[in-house]
Symmetry: C2
Subunit: 396 residues, 2 copies
Amino acid sequence: MTDLPKKHLFDIPEGMIYLDGNSLGPLPKGAVERATKVLTEEWGKELIRAWNTADWMALPQKVGDRIATLIGAAPGSVATGDTLSIKVYQALAAALKMRPERRVILSDNGNFPSDLYMAQGLISTIGKDYELRTVAPEEVAGAITEEVAVVMLTEVDYRSGRRHDMRALTAAAHQAGAVMLWDLAHSAGALPVDLTAANAEFAVGCSYKYLNGGPGAPAFIYARPDILQQVEPALSGWLGHEAPFAMEPGYRPAMTTERLRVGTPPIVQLSILDAALDIWDDVDMAQLRAASMALCETFIAEVERRCPELTLASPRDAEQRGSQVSFAFAEGYPVMQALIDRGAIGDFRAPNILRFGFTPLYIDQQDVIRAAEILQEVMSSACWKDAKYQVRGRVT
Amino acid sequence: MTDLPKKHLFDIPEGMIYLDGNSLGPLPKGAVERATKVLTEEWGKELIRAWNTADWMALPQKVGDRIATLIGAAPGSVATGDTLSIKVYQALAAALKMRPERRVILSDNGNFPSDLYMAQGLISTIGKDYELRTVAPEEVAGAITEEVAVVMLTEVDYRSGRRHDMRALTAAAHQAGAVMLWDLAHSAGALPVDLTAANAEFAVGCSYKYLNGGPGAPAFIYARPDILQQVEPALSGWLGHEAPFAMEPGYRPAMTTERLRVGTPPIVQLSILDAALDIWDDVDMAQLRAASMALCETFIAEVERRCPELTLASPRDAEQRGSQVSFAFAEGYPVMQALIDRGAIGDFRAPNILRFGFTPLYIDQQDVIRAAEILQEVMSSACWKDAKYQVRGRVT
């Protein structure tokens, strides 16, 4: 049984209520020690030999296996490295090759823009008559026709927290003969995921949100073991080769999930992520999900009672939500700046969304109530109208 | 005027002669302090706000500008992130779009395999009648016909150290109407590069070799400023968008070199690279080149005198070489293991190459002579025949 929260394992500034772990998780204490070790002991003392002596070569797969346990994937089925956008491209390109007679990539219009952009870039690279078709999230199921080569969806909507039904939509995709690709950016570490049960061909995700891997931590990609040999890598880099150090002139994909690796892995960031994953060893995902739902329910109730100006922009049914709650308010941007200024850190997503992530590893009920109180103070005092909160940074 | 070497700025184990900086540069002392700062001060205390308060958003471009000064590129013309293989794909895909009527990617058969593999993956993704044509390095100039869309070459050969003539081959490519792409993996930080004078459209490179950015440090890509607006990004991720935080449904490439960025940048590794680049601030590349040539000349003379069993596998003319020297020996693998065991670190590249990188930042004439002495001891004692040196690791 997990003991939640695990605040003592994180370095979170005194007095800060951090409700933005769905954007960038906080610093795990073990990360600093691990980074120091990889720099001074491994790189510093072993230099090039560390690829063997510190087993850097095996680190991408080791980290992949640790993520696999959190998303219901078999050992050996998850590769790590690159960024989520790159992993989307890899999965989409492979999926299109698996359905050569079909021409449609289906997604929803609330999907994270980079997923849509990568699809657009892939289509432009192929240069044939492919189409990225987007429909409203609730219309996806009805839009999976036999024209569709691949259905690409993010399980939890980055703005609203609305959650797709992974099993049902995967089944619908398969019913129509399409390949299924799930983006788990807001799922991995946020709620129980069972890729094996869902039976999706591909999944991708990032590790700097709920997995707390740090800014720019590497992404991951899952390919269902039984289809791996059909996966033709578009980004056929040397570390996806069956024998990278044979230096052969022709690419031969690895027989394992390593075929989804590309170039030299980011060892420092992978090591930090590996340390961050230590925290998950004894976490029961069902218990985490129950705690997350309770935190979200409290926040919704408290904010609706205290701040009638705000409109819930997430599904009211906890089962239909991920681990975040969003409220809409036309002047959401300065409101969020005022909140951040008062130590309650959420974020803003255009055009009008105040977004709050609830992460039971380091957030408890007291934090949630205090955050709602601060939001009430900001709204009732109208302090957000202060000119200093209107200035827009590049990231909010 | 540079004061070389700058050994005091690196943490290199006592007694080690490190001749593998062409594979992984050693740890700059400033890297540890910077990593600690980015973890504990920026990530730890600022969390999501660090994208603004620690200016993480600007870091990829800042680092790109610092690399630009080392390769003769204009400020703003170099983007950083991802891996070298990914950057090869981006450049090739963009180059092919610039010559839609042509179908040949020309390279040499000594090019680093991943560059060739990425070209193969791109061609397979496009799925049309493209061809990757490779010829012997010395036959490249004659093979640049009007069928060629893009000439892709690595300036310095990773095995032999043989150096292509960047200006002449770029001119030949342009003469035939082809786009030129240079891989500077073994050039950046190794010798003077003048991309502006060479007039190449694209260049790519990595930062963990001569630039000492650490294992898996981010790559870079250059696009010539006057053709930037013709560069259509295949890997069209959100951070290459003109307005990433507007969350628009359609991709619009940034008007700047940022269009060659893809996903969320690896801030920890970029910060370490930024610290590593501090060392270069007062380095005169002409002086570095002269020192590098002198180190290589000494090594060749000493090894040829002491180890007649070894055959020089690099050009004898220093002008025709990068900053490494290779010797061929059928049993090169165990010889290199025995050398490493005695503190002289080079590496082995299949099938029979003993490779030694000479990096005047932290290697001097005494080191070179001592390395030759150790090599002589290994060869004359035949200690490399010991069974323990025959076992092959995954990386050598």
